[in-house]
């Protein structure tokens, strides 16, 4: 059986682990194939084939041969395209980048690919690197990635009585239904927090738009807190786990 031809593709490196004496085990996202794992032979000693390109959160052009069935793919060489220097020089940005990478890996494991996630991850890492203090980035990433992954929060109508939400008045987030309800159907509580119309509008925009289209989004502190809380409850309920990186976000 012939070996597949090597592919050259931009890749976002998510994790790098030492493997044996001088090799690296690399986890990366590509636009076409999603999350993959591969071995870069001799990468720890290489002064030519892998110069500073196999590091977490880097965007690199990788030349690799895809895996046969369940084997690891073989990474031949790489070239650094974007190091995202801002993520290294600010721990807050580094923690936020770790969160979005873990969420992307959880929502889109190997075999589940979507080109929109690669673009979202790439744009979000760049934005975090360039404007690390912007706490909106991990929130908008989470809302959009969950929506792409099939866990979009239904903000159009009451998930209990079915009445359309017209953008007026408070509503309640119902985590087991993955949507909002009117106050008549569900009372506010810690597990069913209330949301202002402003928060619902903003969350809808975050779920439907790419990062570039949200440039002008300006949210009040209260609104941001509501959205963060709803996304956290939604994520933990749908993914049935707590992300390791979530505790480093604040």
């Amino acid at each position: 059986m012939s070996r597949p031809d090597p592919i050259i593709s931009p890749a976002i490196i998510t994790r790098v682990k030492e493997f044996g004496e001088s090799d690296l085990l690399v986890t990366f996202f590509t636009r076409e194939s999603g999350l993959q794992k591969g071995v870069a032979k001799g990468a720890r000693r290489s002064l030519k084939r892998f110069v500073n390109c196999l590091d977490a959160f880097c965007l690199a052009s990788l030349e690799y041969t895809p895996k046969k069935q369940r084997d690891l793919c073989f990474i031949h060489s790489g070239k650094l395209l974007e190091a995202h220097q801002g993520l290294r020089s600010e721990y807050g940005s580094f923690s936020r980048a770790s969160f979005i990478v873990e969420l992307a890996e959880t929502l889109f494991p190997p075999g589940v690919s979507d080109p929109r996630v690669f673009d979202l991850l790439k744009d979000s890492l760049k934005a975090l690197s360039d404007e690390g203090g912007n706490i909106l980035i991990p929130i908008t990433f989470e809302a959009r990635a969950m929506a792409i992954g099939g866990y979009r929060i239904n903000l159009e109508k009451c998930c209990i009585c079915g009445r359309a939400y017209k953008g007026e008045g408070r509503a309640v987030f119902v985590r087991e239904k993955g949507g909002i309800s009117c106050l008549g159907c569900r009372q506010e509580s810690a597990l069913s927090p209330g949301m202002e119309p402003e928060s619902i509008r903003a969350l809808r925009q975050m779920q439907d738009n790419d990062l570039g289209q949200l440039k002008g989004l300006d949210l009040s502190g209260g609104c941001l807190k509501e959205i963060k809380n709803v996304l956290k409850l939604h994520r933990e309920y749908r993914l049935e786990k707590r992300l390791k990186t979530a505790k480093f976000l604040d």
């Binding site: 500073n52 993520l87 580094f94």
Partner: protein
């Protein structure tokens, strides 16, 4: 049931638990041990037990040692006041082998890595802060690796130590000895040019 007799299977299983050693390598090493003199097996077994019994962390710098404090912390000829921060004992050893640093060390035992669930409280960072005043530390050299985690750890420490009024330095980053400019990436070249030094005539 395995293809080897149970005691050999057991040895292969134990070797394959070590990092970087797969089933095949474990079988190869186990067969080598079996073929060698009894002395090799006895020495190996006693060395393994000895290392677990005798090696511990130095209570001052957290390097591996069989005597507390370690030989570096006990050495009166070394300069006090300059502390070199490293990720682990391997990095400390590499700097020691170079013979150019004659100050004191502090071993963090890892780097910040939220993806692995490692935060500041999982490293020897509070212990570092506790050393600063009693030891009269004047300069901190951040010698973590130039990886994303190493750099983020260095940035975190630099920021946390900023209000202590210390001189905080980072080891130089740039073109490695024996490297080739043609193959260097933009970030490395950027660092190398930023950190250039005048040549003395």
């Amino acid at each position: 049931m395995g293809i080897y007799p149970p005691p050999l299977e057991k040895l292969i299983e134990q070797f394959s638990r070590l990092p970087g050693i797969g089933q095949k390598s474990a079988a190869r090493i186990a067969l080598y041990v079996l073929k060698s003199d009894r002395e090799l097996a006895e020495n190996l077994a006693s060395a393994l037990v000895e290392v677990k019994d005798q090696i511990r962390l130095c209570s001052v710098c957290f390097n591996l040692t069989d005597n507390d404090p370690c030989s570096i912390c006990r050495d009166q000829s070394r300069a006090n006041g300059v502390l070199c921060i490293v990720e682990g004992p391997g990095e400390l050893l590499a700097i020691e082998e170079s013979g150019v640093f004659k100050g004191r060390y502090h071993v963090l035992h890892g780097v910040l890595s939220p993806l692995e669930g490692i935060g500041p409280e999982d490293l020897k960072i509070s212990e570092l802060f506790q050393r600063i005043e009693p030891e009269g530390i004047k300069e901190i050299i951040l010698a973590t690796n130039p990886t994303a985690e190493g750099e983020a750890t260095a940035s975190f420490l630099a920021k946390s130590l900023a209000e202590k009024g210390l001189k905080i330095t980072r080891i130089a980053l740039g073109i490695p000895m024996g490297g080739d400019l043609k193959y260097m990436d933009s970030l490395t070249l950027q660092h190398a040019l930023k950190s250039r030094i005048p040549l003395q005539s």
